[in-house]
């Protein structure tokens, strides 16, 4: 089941799944990232973009959104800062804004 969110113009025609993750990561653009962040009440800064760019790169290399530990071990952003940047579930929120599927760290 999918539904569309029309929060801002940049999100017209962007398809999300029922948990709010983009259906098609390849359709993502930085503008879409900005718009998703806005709907989540987050104003993106340079530090956010460090995480977003890292997450996009990881996805292109591994086909998965990175877990919190992968982000903090390899991106230069520490855990406390990461939670402050993306409140309410750092890896999940970062994946949403980066247009990636839900991280699969949990088994």
């Amino acid at each position: 089941m999918t539904d569309q969110i029309f929060a801002t113009n940049s999100l017209d025609n962007v398809v999300f799944n029922e948990e709010g993750f983009m259906d098609d990561a390849s359709a993502w653009t930085p503008e879409i990232g900005e718009a998703i962040a806005q709907t989540l009440g987050i104003q993106l800064t340079d530090r956010h973009w460090v995480v977003i760019n890292f997450a996009r790169n990881e996805f292109e290399t591994n086909g998965e959104a990175p877990t919190i530990r992968r982000i903090t071990k390899n991106s230069g952003v520490e855990t406390k800062e990461l939670y402050a940047l993306f409140p309410g579930g750092a890896a999940k929120i970062a994946a949403k804004i980066s247009g990636l599927p839900k991280p699969t760290g949990c088994i």
Partner: protein, 410 residues
């Protein structure tokens, strides 16, 4: 003479040693297994130790008892694995072993030092793990004399070995305090980084309901940032604080240090492994069984058992120049102790979450899936005997490695 080397003589490595010793021609192959520890721990039994149901002697036996005589067992730490050179360096006598095939079964271990403040102050005083014999035994002594208060069970980070163990601990604790007529004096709180009681949605709902029925508070999405043992509080990254009198923790689980030293692991030292063939993603003569790898299956002995036939068949195929078969489906099968001499059984794989039904015989059981029953409890108790006498020796079990939908209600 060719060399078949196994690193780690736990559940996975021991099973592989037994199978391979039957299958490889002794005139052509030598089989070696390396472990730093002489003692084999029956890890599922650790859960029962805090409550005095098992003692330390119930869960240990010499590893040597389970290694066949035609396999050379070497007691040593491993200094480094050099997969590019197909070579392993041991600490003992600086021995170097070149291998033709390598099976890695070095497991996963707890790292309480990964959480700030966890091991300072209260460690093994009013903060305990039960994933080590030492932690479980220390907790048993504590519980014997505890007068009650607030017990917090915390999962630091996923993935963890045996993701049902924390729930079982809570169910058994609830029972233990009832039996001692002190349940009213104990508040039980379960904090988890997961959004619910378990990793899979349908089981999470049912298990969450059982927690609520037993009067246990579930605190989801709790990512622990710090333990303050001066004030007995745990704190989360999003600023929540929870007081405890007794903190039982499942610390961060990581693969073995040697995997990190050898540059073979991911951020938690788990080895990137093909989730269907169990071959290393990088080196074709390296294979991984059990929880040393990063496959998205439960890190549990039953999973290692279901991996066994697949990894053995694929190694033999590789020796014949054939491509490995993608036969591992992530099958896991877990008895969950729920207290009061009852248990719950769950059976699932990569694609199918735990469902209700009967197991292993469709419609008959004797075990009930995803609901409490006394038979499930007795199955778990009997499992210790099966583990020592059948499973470790690579013996046949009465069900297939691949999960079946027969007997399940989708």
């Amino acid at each position: 003479m060719k060399t078949f080397l196994i690193l780690g003589a736990g559940t996975g490595g021991t099973m592989v040693a037994n199978k391979m010793s039957e299958l490889l021609d002794p005139d052509e192959w030598r089989i070696l297994i390396v472990d730093r520890d002489e003692t084999h721990f029956y890890q599922p039994g650790f859960l029962f130790i805090p409550f005095g149901i098992y003692g330390p002697s119930d869960v240990v036996k010499p590893k040597r008892n389970f290694i066949p005589p035609n396999v050379e067992m070497i007691l040593s730490d491993i200094e480094v694995i050099e997969p590019e050179a197909s070579r392993v360096k041991l600490v003992e006598n600086n021995r170097v072993i070149s291998y033709d095939y390598l099976v890695i079964s070095t497991g996963s271990h707890i790292h309480p030092e990964e959480t700030e403040g966890m091991v300072n102050g209260g460690w093994h005083e009013n903060i305990f793990d039960f994933y080590t014999l030492k932690g479980a035994t220390a907790l048993s002594r504590f519980l014997k004399f505890w007068k009650g208060g607030r017990m917090v069970l915390n999962i630091a980070e996923m993935p963890i070995k045996c993701p049902v163990a924390p729930l079982e601990f809570i169910f058994l604790a609830d029972w233990f305090f009832h039996e001692r007529s002190m349940r009213d004096d104990v508040e039980i709180i379960f904090t988890t980084p997961l959004p619910g009681a378990f990793t899979k949605p349908r089981a999470s709902g049912i298990l969450g309901g059982i927690l609520a029925d037993k009067g246990i508070d579930l605190v989801p999405d709790f990512n622990i940032s710090e333990v303050d043992s001066s004030t007995n509080k745990i704190k989360s990254y999003d600023g929540r604080e929870i007081d405890y009198d007794l903190l039982v923790t499942i610390p961060t689980n990581m693969g073995s240090d040697v995997i990190e030293r050898s540059g073979m692991g991911d951020e938690l030292n788990f080895i990137p492994t093909n989730k269907h063939t169990l071959q290393s993603e990088k080196w074709e003569n390296v294979w991984i069984i059990g929880d040393a790898g990063n496959v998205p299956a439960s890190k549990a002995g039953s999973v290692a058992h279901f991996m066994l036939d697949v990894v053995v068949e694929n190694i033999l195929r590789h020796m014949e120049g054939l491509a490995p078969l993608p036969k591992f489906d992530g099958h896991a099968n877990c008895f969950i102790e729920s207290g009061f001499e009852k248990g719950i059984l769950i059976d699932f794989n990569y694609d199918v979450e735990p469902l209700p039904g009967k197991f292993p015989l469709p419609g008959l059981g004797p075990f009930s899936l995803l609901q409490e029953s006394p038979a499930n409890h007795w199955g778990k108790i009997a499992f210790r005997w099966i583990y020592w006498n059948v499973l470790l020796k690579g013996g046949e079990m009465p069900f297939e490695s691949q999960m079946t939908m027969a007997g399940k209600w989708a």
